[in-house]
Structure formats: C-alpha cells, structure tokens
C-alpha cells in the first residue's frame, strides 16, 4: 500500500456554503483528520478517499470568495495554493459551486483555472436548483472554462459516480500550465509578471497573484520579497485598484455566458427563506427566539449531560474502589487509583457536555441559523471586541468553558476569537456551583428574606451576575490591548435554510470529541498526576511524624478504625508537598482572610473547582462521601486562633469572590493551550484572572472585617 503522502492530492476549493464539507465527508467518510499547520487556527481537514482500486488524498480548504482575501483564515488556502512545495498543494482542484448561486461562484473558479490548476467544476446542490426550476447548460460552461463541469448533489448523492470517474481520468491526463488566461492582463500586470523570474513553470496569472500577496505569503524569502517590491514599483503596480479591475473584468466576461447558459422557469428571488427570516430575524421576535433556543441548549448541556457524567464518575469510582480492595496497599496502587484513574475520569467526564453542545451547535450551523445569530448580535458583541458567534460561547460557558472554548473555532477573526476564548471562563460554570453551595450559607443565613427574595438566592444570582460582568469587562479591556490583524468586517451571506444532514453533524461531533481527547486530554492527565504526587508525597520526616501523631491521637481518643484512617489522611495531606506549599503561601492569602487549610484547598481545586469540597472534607477528617450539610457543620465550628469563627461572612464572601474570578481549572488551561496553539495565552489568562480574584477577594475581606 502506498504511503498517504505519495497519493495524488485533490483539493476541494469553493465559496463558504458551497457544500464542500458535505462532499468531503461523502468522499472520505471518517478517514479524515485536521491537517497539522503550525500557527493556523482554522481547521484544514484532510482525508483519504478510496473507490474501485484508486486511493486519493482529499484536502478540504477553508472557503473563500476570491483570491483576494480579507482575513487571516482566508489567506490560508491562498498560501497553500500558491506554494508548490506545500505538503497540501493539490495535483487537482475540484471546484465546488452552489448551483443556485452560480453567477457569483464562477468568479473564483476562473481565478483558480487561470492560476494553472488542473480543475473539475462540481455544480453542487443541483437538486435545489432543479426544485427552483433552474436549468444549467453545462456544455456552455465547460466550453467557456475549458474544464469538465459535472452536476452533483452531495446531499441527494447525485452525480457522485460521474465525479469520481472524471477525477480518475483527469488526474491521469497530462496537463501543461496554460499561458493564456481567461482574464486578459493589463499592461502593468504583464510588466510585473514578465519581470518576475520563477523557477517553476507558472502561469502568467499565477505570477500576478504573487505580486499581490508577496508580503504575507509564508514561503517567499525576504530577498524575494525585496525583489517583488522593486518590480511592483518599477511597473507602477497598484494592488487594490488592480484587484477591483480584475474582478470587474471577470464578471463582465462571464455574466453574459451565464445569462445564456442558465434558464429559470420561475422567479428565483422569492424563497421559503424569506418567509422564515421575517420571523427569525425580526427585530423583537428574533432575539426572543434566540434566547429561547439558548435556554434549551443551556438546559441540555447543564442537565441532560449530567446523567452520563454521573455514570462516568460513579463508574470510575466503583472501579477504583474495587481495585483498592484487591490490590496491595502501596503507592503503586494509589497512583493507579487516585492518579491515573482519577485523571482519566477527569478527562472522559467532559465528553457528554462536548458531544451534546456540538450536536446542537452543528444543527444550528448546518441549518443556516447561526449566520442569523451573527447578524442579530454582531453590533453589541463588537463593542466588547467579540463577534456575533461569541454569544454562543459565552452562554455555553455557564455550563462549562471547555466546549464553549472549542465552539469559538467558527469565529473567523483571530482577535475576536481570542477575546472570546479569554473571557468565556469568567462566566460561572457548573463546577463552581458546589463551592458556592457550601460557602453561601456562611455569608447569609437561609432564613433571611427580602420581600419575595431569599437572601441566599440573591447572593447566588449576584455571583453569577458578577461573572458575566467580569467577562464583559475583561473582554472590553482586552479589545483595547490586543493588536488587530486586518480590519474586522461583518459582510456575509445568510444562506438558504436547509435540513441538517445527519452525516455532517455526526462527523463534526466525532471530530470535536476526538480533538479534545487528543489535544487537551494528555495535558489534563499530566497535571492531575502532578497534583497526585503533590498530595501523596512530602518531606519524609514530616510524613513519618504525621503518621505517628495520627496513631497516637487515635489511641488517645480511642477512635474507630474508620475515624483513625480519616485522621491520618487529613494529617498526611497537611504534611505533603501541597500541604507545605499551602502553609508557605499562608502569608500571601492571610489578607484575604484565609488560613493554610483554605490554601491547600485552593491548590488542589486547581484540578477542578468542585475538588474544593472534597479537599475540605479530607482536611476536616470527614469521609469523602460526606453530605454538604455535615461538612458545613464542621466548617462552621472551625475557629480562628482568636476564638472567632473561621468562616465568618467576610472570609466566606472573600472566598466566593475568589472562586468567581480565579481560573481554578486545569482543563480550561489545557483547552486554551490547544485552541490558541501556545502556552502564552493560558498563562496570561491564569494570571489575569488570578489577579482579579486576588484583588477582588482582598477588597471584600478588608471592607467587611
């Protein structure tokens, strides 16, 4: 069998919404993955297609409207197409067109052909065109473009066999880069193209593209850039003006051809989409419908996911308990149960949330609804440096930041995407809830009511509100400081509503879960191991003393076996490295009203916020299965050295504020590392949110005590 890299490469090129991804999924099935492109945030998918005895590499290039990009991710396909040595550079281009929009989609087709690519035009969604009484004369188009034109429907599986056999034939045919181009170059463009020496036998139009984009094309060396700059200057090459001129010329040439080749049996300008949008994008109804849908999405991620999540957690707990029973008591079994299994459970527990959120998002995206969301909320999100799509991430963050951060991939402006990633974890997620639940009772007693409102309920809502406020404030500040790459724009197509295709949704969910497991899973595993080591080992003398003291105390008080085990556990964690660090940071957290026990809980809950509750239980020598009620009683009777209650309102509120802001979640760090491609942003985020948490808590404690 031939290695993947040596197979003939076919790139799917086309405008966004041309149905490229459906075709890609159809050709490759699940034999696909995301191509490895350093520093690139948008997904470029590649996969293997097999039919008859043939095997090909298929590359799904990000959608673009022309060879003149306006954003960073529109540049990616251009960078690949202009670099003959790129590992994704195609031998053949299948140019995918939405048949109902053939007039606009032909623009890029003519540019791709002029660049010298061996091409096939796939008139996709031909079923929709038929439904609308549209007839396209493929021969006329073929004659104009000098390349095969095939009617297909990747949704209805029409014309796929013909496309495959045309690919087989086309890939075999000899092809010389045509020097004549559909577009007639101006004298200035010819001047530039003739002066640009190129080792490759490139088309004249290809050289013109280099003259437009040389500044940011990644494969052009510095000395070559200087050379192109010189040539451009000599010939009087005006970038923008020539882009516009070329585009207009192309339209002027092919619009008459399209007019005679395409016949309409009915008026195409009115469709069901207009009727739906009258309601869906209505100025008042639109937002109401959106928030209702979001309520459902939130409910799904928050509540529905909890069933499989509990199953995963209790399953692992049961398995761990069983192992503990049968394995000898030593550090290896402990590592296996409390390190490896706990870490694995901590990774797998996110899968239900990720799968459910992306199932729903994929349905919204596939149906065409998501573009309407962007249209409706672009303005308000823009004020905070974000994009209409950011609102989905911010709302899902209320359940969990992990899937929310993964959902930012559809935001095409890098700055807007980054701000969304950095601000989302400030929204209070479900893991903060147990912490809030334990502490809120120490701030206000349950019995107080203000009118119809319960005081605890008010504090709860206040914490959530503070999170939202924090996220918007953080986003606003980031907007001022993060530099912009290219200007932001909205300008986009609102595609016709379509019934979502199950295959596309399934592939998307599968891809997201896989990329989480591979990308973030290993980081989460490593951090949870480190935390396990920190909590299980300590300076040997201290650990030994802790054991002896625990035994002495147990004998003195005549504790039961269980009680003495709990006491030993509590004294061991105090003597462990994490305990040592907890005590060491005590001076730093004392102004917030915390002691070393809280310090230890802050450290261990870095694994996940809800671990706070478990650690507190251990520190107060309670069984880990203790109810919140007993833990709260125990915490309530804890005293400061001066005899006051340790968990007075000031300390408790300070701690709550700390948990609202602090990035106490290794999984968030791991996913931010994966999605931004660098440790710089998760580290910045950790310290920025840490500073907000520290100073917020400091202020509250100092004002209240």
């Amino acid at each position: 069998m031939k290695a993947f890299e040596t197979l003939p490469r076919i790139a799917l090129v086309g405008n966004p919404n041309s149905g490229k991804s459906s075709l890609f999924n159809l050709l490759t099935g699940l034999r696909q993955n995301v191509a490895n492109l350093p520093g690139v945030t948008v997904d470029v998918k590649k996969g293997t297609a097999i039919w008859d005895d043939k095997k090909y590499q298929i590359i799904d290039l990000p959608g673009m409207y022309s060879v003149f990009p306006n954003s960073a991710d529109e540049r990616i396909p251009i960078d690949i197409l202009t670099n003959p040595n790129h590992h994704l550079h195609p031998d053949l281009v299948v140019y995918v067109i939405d048949s109902t929009q053939i007039e606009r989609h032909l623009l890029l087709a003519t540019q791709i052909i002029d660049m010298g690519f061996k091409a096939i035009i796939a008139l996709n969604m031909i079923d929709l065109a038929d439904d609308r009484g549209m007839f396209i004369d493929t021969q006329a188009i073929e004659h104009y473009l000098h390349c095969p034109v095939i009617k297909i429907s990747s949704r209805e599986l029409q014309g796929i066999d013909q496309l495959k056999s045309t690919i087989d034939r086309r890939i075999e045919t000899e092809y010389s880069v045509i020097q004549k181009s559909i577009y007639t170059l101006t004298e200035i463009e010819k001047c530039v193209a003739n002066k640009l020496d190129s080792e490759q036998n490139n088309s004249i139009y290809f050289k013109k593209i280099l003259a437009h984009h040389y500044k940011w094309l990644s494969f052009i060396r510095e000395d070559e850039k200087k050379e192109i700059e010189k040539v451009n200057l000599q010939c009087g090459f005006n970038d923008i003006q020539l882009q516009v001129h070329e585009t207009m010329e192309r339209y002027n040439a092919f619009l008459p051809i399209v007019k005679s080749a395409v016949k309409y049996k009915k008026d195409p300008s009115q469709s069901i989409t207009d009727t739906i949008d009258k309601v869906i994008t209505h100025r008042i109804l639109g937002p109401i419908i959106f928030f209702s849908i979001m309520l459902l999405v939130f409910q799904a991620v928050y509540a529905w996911a909890s069933v499989p999540m509990d199953l995963i957690e209790s399953g692992f707990a049961l398995f761990g308990d069983t192992l503990t029973k049968y394995l000898p008591t030593n550090w290896i079994s402990d590592l296996l149960v409390n390190g490896v299994l706990a870490g694995l459970s901590g990774v797998l527990v996110f899968i239900p949330q990720i799968a459910i959120l992306f199932l729903l998002i994929a349905i919204l995206e596939e149906s065409g609804y998501m573009s309407r969301v962007v249209f409706m909320f672009d303005g308000i999100m823009q004020k905070f440096g974000m994009n209409g799509r950011s609102i989905i991430s911010l709302i899902s963050s209320g359940a969990c930041a992990i899937p929310a951060i993964m959902a930012t991939r559809t935001i095409n402006n890098p700055k807007e995407r980054l701000i969304t990633i950095l601000a989302s974890p400030l929204i209070s997620c479900s893991a903060r809830l147990p912490v809030y639940a334990v502490l809120v009772g120490f701030v206000v007693p349950n019995s107080i009511n203000y009118g119809p409102f319960n005081a605890q309920g008010l504090v709860f809502s206040g914490l959530y509100f503070l999170g939202i406020l924090g996220a918007l404030f953080f986003a606003f500040v980031l907007k001022l400081f993060i530099k912009t790459e290219g200007q932001s724009y909205l300008m986009m197509e609102l595609p016709e509503y379509k019934k979502p295709l199950f295959k596309n949704i399934y592939t998307d969910v599968f891809e997201k879960v896989k990329s989480f497991l591979i990308g973030a899973g290993k980081i989460i595993m490593i951090i949870s191991m480190v935390l396990w080591v920190g909590a299980s080992f300590g300076p040997s003398k201290g650990m030994e003393n802790a054991r002896i003291n625990a035994q002495k105390l147990s004998t003195l008080h005549q504790y039961s076996v269980k009680q003495s085990q709990q006491l030993e556990k509590s004294m061991l964690i105090e003597a462990s490295y994490i305990g040592v660090i907890g005590k060491w940071i005590e001076p730093a957290i004392k102004p917030l009203g915390y002691d070393w026990k809280i310090g230890i809980a802050l450290l261990t809950s870095f694994a996940a916020r809800e671990v706070f509750v478990g650690t507190m239980a251990t520190l107060y020598s309670l069984d880990s299965g203790t109810s919140e009620q007993t833990l709260r009683q125990k915490m309530n009777s804890e005293l400061k050295p001066n005899g006051e209650k340790r968990y007075d309102p000031a300390t408790s509120l300070s701690l709550l504020i700390f948990y609202v802001f602090a990035l106490q979640c290794m999984s968030t760090l791991a996913i931010v590392r994966k999605e931004t491609g660098t440790w710089k942003w998760p580290i910045f985020q950790f310290f920025a949110m840490g500073a907000m948490a520290y100073f917020g808590a400091l202020m509250v404690y100092q004002l209240m005590s």
């Binding site: 585009t247 724009y489 609102l494």
Partner: protein, 74 residues
C-alpha cells in the same frame, strides 16, 4: 450622493459605485457591483447592521460597511 445607509426597509435601489478601499473586492465577490439592484429588507435588532437582498442572495452588512456603497434610485 446617497449611500446604502439612506435606504429604508422595503426600498430598492441600483448600486452606482463602490468606494475603492480594502473591502471593495469583498463587496464585488458577493455580487455587490455597479448596476445591480439591491433590496433593503430589514435592520438588525439594535439597528447596527442591515439584512439586504441581491436577487436570490441574502446578505448581512454593517452600517459602516454600507456607507462605502453609493446608490441611485430605481
């Protein structure tokens, strides 16, 4: 000269000219070009963006972007 910003929901106009800026090509590639008829459908909830139609094509465009599209009455 009137721009796309001067159209009210339900009104139509012909595009006369597109300002020569970095988005000019973007507009053109969506089919927003001289002599095309553009239909203003509605405003976004906060009034910062437009829902417009060019034939069978539905587009969303910001107010600030619309100001570089010059129009003449039908």
């Amino acid at each position: 000269m009137k721009t796309l910003n001067d159209l009210r929901p339900g009104e139509e106009a012909f595009i006369q000219e597109i300002d020569l800026n970095i988005f000019a090509c973007k507009f053109l590639s969506f089919g927003l070009m001289p002599r095309t008829k553009v239909h203003m459908v509605r405003l976004s909830p906060l009034g910062d963006a437009y829902y417009i139609k060019l034939g069978a094509l539905h587009l969303a465009i910001r107010k600030s972007e619309a100001s570089s599209i010059k129009i003449v009455d039908v």
